[in-house]
């Protein structure tokens, strides 16, 4: 006897050969998210990403707090990359309130953003290593990350959630011996980065697992709207820092890293090569930075924006982050919409995993530079 199901509900037809696997939602490496994977033997037939387990309502919270009070909670989605996720918010609010930023503050913000990008990429690389069973590659980046965390701690006073960038500049000036210390640690770090090459990137075991898996073609990368390192690994020369330079990026000397292959290996290598560029930017910014001057424009208490709207975006560790801010003559913003790279890169996961071996799933998944907490906001 068959029971009549209510309209809109249907039972899935079961195929004996196909098995459904739930990867997650308990923390498959980053934050809570679930991949519903159907496998035929060892091969993936379909993949359905299921985000939304760590939704925090950041956008709604921002409507009840003034422009300064928004700072600590807006950096919570990505605490490892907290300067970069605050950067577009600060740029947008400065445009809304009509604030001029001192020249020295612009350079300091760029240095903080690049240090934070390195911190994020090293954390990402550590998890990428342990996902592929390479425990040395977990220990090394996690240790070297301390160098940059220490630098940002000296700058901002906090190890992870810096709350350093504010509309109008930065919270405080650099400590006295910062430049010398920063140059020494960046130089040492570049030496260390070269060691990663032999143990990880030229390692035949890694190459065998990642080369040729999860290929995303150039046209697909553009069509699916991917961003950041995923887009650049597929051969598209797009970097917000180059194409729409903000603050002082147009004065600084760096290149965009582009690779043509579009496979997992290229996606893991692009962020690694970007760290060299970040080091170049930090060194260049320290050289060109004005040696003295104000670092913060004084704001009125409870500043109000006019009837206006603004959209600003920056390049973060995971791609372009954009803030759309609407104000209506009140101290609080009327609406804050955050467009993040993680969510846009998640879209291509079903396309990449189809036909892959299940064992390659972690490499493809983590190579997309997807951060669940940021995607859910």
């Amino acid at each position: 006897m068959t029971t009549q199901l209510p309209p809109g509900m249907h039972l899935e037809t079961v195929d004996d050969k196909i098995m459904t696997l739930n990867v997650g939602p308990q923390h498959p490496g980053s934050g809570h998210m679930r991949l519903i994977i159907k496998v035929d033997g060892d091969y993936i037939v379909s993949c359905d990403p299921d985000p939304g387990y760590v939704h925090r309502g950041e956008e709604k919270m921002a409507e009840y707090r003034n422009y300064i009070q928004n700072i600590p909670h807006l950096e919570r989605p990505v605490i490892h990359d907290s300067s970069n996720i605050l950067y577009p918010y600060c740029l947008g609010v400065e445009e809304l309130l009509g604030i001029e930023v001192p020249e020295r503050a612009k350079y300091i913000r760029v240095i903080a953003a690049e240090l934070n990008r390195c911190i994020y990429i090293l954390y990402w690389l550590a998890i990428y290593g342990i996902f592929l069973g390479h425990s040395t590659m977990f220990m090394w980046p996690a240790g070297d990350r301390e160098l940059f965390i220490d630098l940002l701690e000296a700058m901002s006073g906090a190890r992870v959630t810096h709350a350093y960038l504010v509309p109008g500049g930065v919270r405080n000036d650099l400590p006295s011996n910062f430049e010398e210390r920063c140059l020494r640690q960046v130089e040492y770090f570049e030496k260390r980065l070269k060691e990663y090459e032999a143990i990880f990137y030229q390692n035949p075991l890694l190459k065998a697992r990642t080369e040729g898996s999860g290929i995303l073609s150039r046209t697909d990368a553009i069509r699916l709207g991917t961003t950041g390192s995923v887009l650049r690994a597929s051969g598209v020369d797009f970097d917000v820092r180059k194409k729409e330079p903000y603050d002082v990026y147009e004065n600084l000397d760096f290149q965009t890293i582009v690779m043509k292959e579009g496979d997992s290996y290229a996606r893991s290598r692009v962020p690694y090569l970007e760290m060299f560029e970040s080091c170049r930017i930090i060194r260049d910014a320290l050289k060109k930075m004005p040696k003295s001057g104000s670092v913060r424009t004084k704001l009125k208490p409870n500043p109000k924006g006019g009837n206006d709207e603004v959209y600003r975006r920056v390049e973060s560790g995971r791609g372009a982050i954009g803030y759309y801010i609407v104000s209506n003559n009140r101290p609080e913003p009327y609406r804050v919409k955050i467009s993040v790279g993680s969510f846009r890169n998640l879209i291509c996961m079903p396309y990449l995993l189809k036909g892959e071996k299940l064992g390659n799933m972690p490499a493809v998944y983590w190579g997309l530079n997807y951060w669940p907490v940021e995607a859910d906001r």
Partner: protein, 165 residues
């Protein structure tokens, strides 16, 4: 053949590190050195002074009980509440001062930015763990005590690599 060479190279780069100094900080035997005496703020220029954002220090002789720190914390952590103190200060008629709940505080330091009277700063003290929740609530009298912190090690970089002390 190239695979074998690649694996040998990878192993070799790992083996080399047997001779390299250990990077690990041996906490709590060693403690990191920080810049300055904690995060401070100059309300005249509107710019802070670099330092670690640890627990607060409250200068009773400057605090006027204006509640600006408490207002700044609303909507962020709601860790600061104003409580009565049994002290008589000419500039603090209401005799209220901030009490901070470190179970809630996120150490953003925006309360320090809000204080216009040089009364609330942050210190290098970051070891605040306790066995009870109530011990995390610091009264104005506890906040006035200057913490005693030993800081000795810095990151040292030489030919044999980076290490702590």
């Amino acid at each position: 053949m190239s695979n074998v060479i690649g694996i040998i190279r990878a192993l070799n780069s790992g083996v080399k590190h047997l001779a390299v100094k250990r990077f690990t900080l041996r906490y709590p035997e060693q403690k990191l050195k920080f810049v300055g005496d904690g995060f401070q703020f100059n309300p005249e220029t509107g710019v802070g002074i670099a330092g670690l954002r640890g627990r607060h220090i409250l200068f009773h002789e400057h605090c006027t009980g204006c509640q600006l720190c408490s207002v700044a914390c609303e909507g962020i952590a709601e860790a600061i509440s104003m409580v009565k103190v049994h002290e008589t200060w000419k500039h603090n008629k209401k005799a209220i001062m901030p009490q901070i709940d470190y179970g809630k505080c996120v150490f953003c330091g925006l309360c320090v930015d809000a204080c216009p009277f040089y009364a609330l700063y942050m210190t290098n003290d970051y070891e605040l763990s306790s066995f009870t929740k109530s011990a995390l609530i610091y009264t104005p009298a506890q906040l006035a005590i200057k913490p005693k912190i030993s800081q000795d090690v810095e990151i040292k970089i030489d030919d044999r690599g980076a290490s702590h002390g």
